[in-house]
């Protein structure tokens, strides 16, 4: 990402791959190192679930463990907080052996998010988030402040959510509470086991974006398990591809893995569409953001026509009072007098966010009648549009969107 696209400040445009060397905005995460870790569930001689795995995860990085089922990725993750004890080898966090502390104390210092979330059904949202601070015996006033801060951080209104029980939440809301709970005691390390696996693809994309935005603020060392290569490419600073029996097949940046798979296994695992997958490395924020003609209910047709005069797309974007996109209005529906006919708007303008991968954005645009993507911010306000052509331009431009590994 050499060229900073218009509309993003330098702070927002932090290249995540560079986090390890960046002194400014120092990560609060800690280095996690696995040294020759082996886990055997049976007696000696049985095939190991994880075999002599060595891996160093930089402070503040997202390391995605990915591989087919039975590759030991979840086992590997669970050995870090000792939900599973390794058979041999050593794991350190910030240089300190995880065996040095009692397991419960170690776990209170490591955030944990799982697919089914595992919220405590008998506790309110506030009590769920407060679990680890309470175990650490924080004073009540500090816990209250922290809960409010965290709900705000994951984008949920404190007043309306704090007192609810998990049964009254949607899947996406539960997942966000799960993330807030994991972050409660500000742990340097977060473990996430298929955290967005149980939500539908659209909400999943949003949660991924939200988490990436959050990670830019908190800079934890994240160990993220998934079986989905696309998710790995999107979320990872580095990907560890494991193959059956817990053998490390390749550990590198997403771009290098896509460009230079280390083995036939890796090449086969990431799929034949490696070229297309590299689209997942670019983000909407890497594209030039065009400003569409905005029309609001109540605007006159004459006014809209005048403003569309020097617009080449042929469409105006209809937004509601809160700037949320409602649909596209065809130039041809703007003849005559009177207010804009909101009924004529073509619904289903695909919305994308700055963090959406170019692959997902392209896919959304190709499926819609108007091949323009409306870029919205985290509050669903339209902030610009991107075109399919922008994506192909970005691909042709070597200095552009798809960041090159070398």
């Amino acid at each position: 990402m050499s060229s900073a696209p218009a509309g993003t400040t330098e702070a927002e445009d932090t290249t995540r791959e560079a986090t390890a060397e960046r002194p400014a905005g120092a990560p609060s995460g800690a280095v996690v190192a696995l040294e020759h870790v082996t886990k055997r569930y049976g007696p000696p001689g049985t095939p190991p679930a994880v075999d002599d795995l060595s891996l160093t995860i930089g402070a503040g990085e997202i390391c995605v463990l990915v591989g087919p089922s039975g590759c030991g990725k979840t086992t590997t993750m669970k050995m870090i907080n000792r939900l599973i004890e390794p058979t041999s080898g050593r794991i350190t966090i910030a240089g300190e052996d995880v065996e040095a502390l009692p397991a419960v104390e170690l776990r209170r210092r490591i955030g944990y998010v799982i697919q089914q979330v595992g919220l405590f059904p008998h506790m309110t949202v506030a009590d769920n988030v407060a679990v680890v601070p309470r175990l650490l015996r924080w004073p009540d006033s500090r816990i209250r402040e922290r809960v409010a801060e965290l709900l705000d951080l994951v984008g949920l209104d404190h007043a309306s959510y704090a007192g609810r029980y998990p049964a009254a939440l949607s899947g996406g809301e539960r997942q966000r509470i799960g993330v807030a709970r994991a972050l409660a005691a500000d742990p340097p390390v977060m473990l996430m086991d298929e955290p967005f696996g149980a939500v539908d693809p659209i909400r999943r994309e949003r949660l991924q974006n939200e988490f990436l935005r959050l990670q830019e603020k908190v800079r934890k060392t994240v160990v993220f398990v998934t079986h989905d290569v696309d998710e790995a490419i999107k979320m990872a600073d580095r990907i560890a591809i494991l193959q059956r029996g817990g053998v490390l097949a390749q550990y590198d940046t997403p771009d290098t893995i896509l460009a230079n798979p280390a083995s036939d296994f890796v090449e086969h695992f990431v799929g034949a569409d490696r070229g297309l997958k590299r689209l997942s490395l670019g983000r909407v924020r890497d594209l030039p953001l065009a400003q569409p003609v905005i029309v609001r209910p109540g605007d006159t047709r004459a006014d809209a026509r005048r403003r569309m005069a020097d617009d080449s797309t042929g469409y105006a974007l209809l937004v509601d009072g809160a700037d949320a996109p409602l649909g596209w209005i065809d130039e041809r529906d703007l003849t005559g007098d009177g207010p804009v006919d909101t009924e004529s708007a073509r619904p289903g303008a695909p919305t994308v966010q700055l963090e959406t991968t170019l692959r997902d954005a392209l896919s959304a645009m190709l499926l819609s009648s108007v091949q323009l993507g409306v870029v919205v911010d985290e509050r669903d306000r339209a902030i610009g549009v991107v075109r399919v052509d922008d994506i192909s331009d970005a691909l042709r431009d070597p200095g552009g969107a798809a960041p090159s590994g070398q």
Partner: protein, 220 residues
């Protein structure tokens, strides 16, 4: 019933108010002891099953066999050992509570979702904290449902213990009403047993709602 007597004599109620009140108290007292002792034994057994899941089948098997012994026989069989004491009555009553209490407690612990247990461990709860702060609260609705059934069943069984002189309202139903052929006492006893059972059941249902506000919480 002597000829010419009305079937139900209200004045008997008034004349015997003291005795009726005493029998109500006795009925509640005997039931309460049986439920509390049965609860504690079942809880201990359920904790063992939580630790060693394989014990579930033998525990439930034994509780089921105890339940299958006819209650009258059980009272009589114990007389040579514990005589005509309250202990004899309670041994039988407690044994009968086990089948439902043990089963519901085990079911209650099993109802805690695996992901919740995993999250609890990963948050850094100790084993004891996980039991008291996570598993028991979540198991509460099922445990209380068991206590409700056990209470109503025990209320009925207590009256049979009148055979060995510790029958609570059973004294009115059997000793006065049936043995002396005086329907007024039987009817009074039965009505009171049913009313008290309903009252206790209702009270426990309310208690459960108070203890588990989350179980009725749905989308606001």
């Amino acid at each position: 019933m002597r000829a010419g007597q009305p079937f139900f004599r209200f004045e008997w109620l008034v004349d015997n108010a003291d005795q009726i009140a005493r029998r109500v108290g006795e009925q509640l007292y005997i039931t309460l002891i049986a439920i509390v002792v049965g609860f504690l034994i079942s809880f201990a057994l359920a904790l063992l099953v939580r630790r060693y899941p394989r014990l579930a089948a033998p525990f439930l098997g034994v509780a089921g066999i105890l339940y299958a012994i006819p209650s009258i026989a059980a009272f009589v069989l114990l007389i040579p050992i514990t005589h005509l004491t309250l202990v004899t009555a309670e041994i039988v009553l407690v044994s009968y509570t086990l089948v439902v209490l043990v089963r519901n407690m085990i079911a209650g612990f099993r109802a805690v979702p695996a992901d919740v247990l995993e999250a609890a461990d990963a948050m850094g709860y100790t084993n004891g904290q996980r039991l008291w702060r996570v598993e028991l609260p979540i198991a509460t609705p099922i445990i209380v449902a068991g206590v409700r059934i056990a209470t109503v069943t025990t209320m009925g069984l207590v009256t049979i213990a009148s055979l060995i002189g510790h029958g609570g309202l059973g004294y009115l139903i059997v000793n006065i009403g049936i043995l002396r052929v005086f329907p007024t006492a039987t009817i009074t006893g039965v009505v009171l047993v049913v009313a008290l059972s309903a009252l206790l059941d209702f009270g426990l249902a309310l208690l459960q709602r108070r203890l588990t506000p989350w179980s009725t919480a749905r989308a606001a």
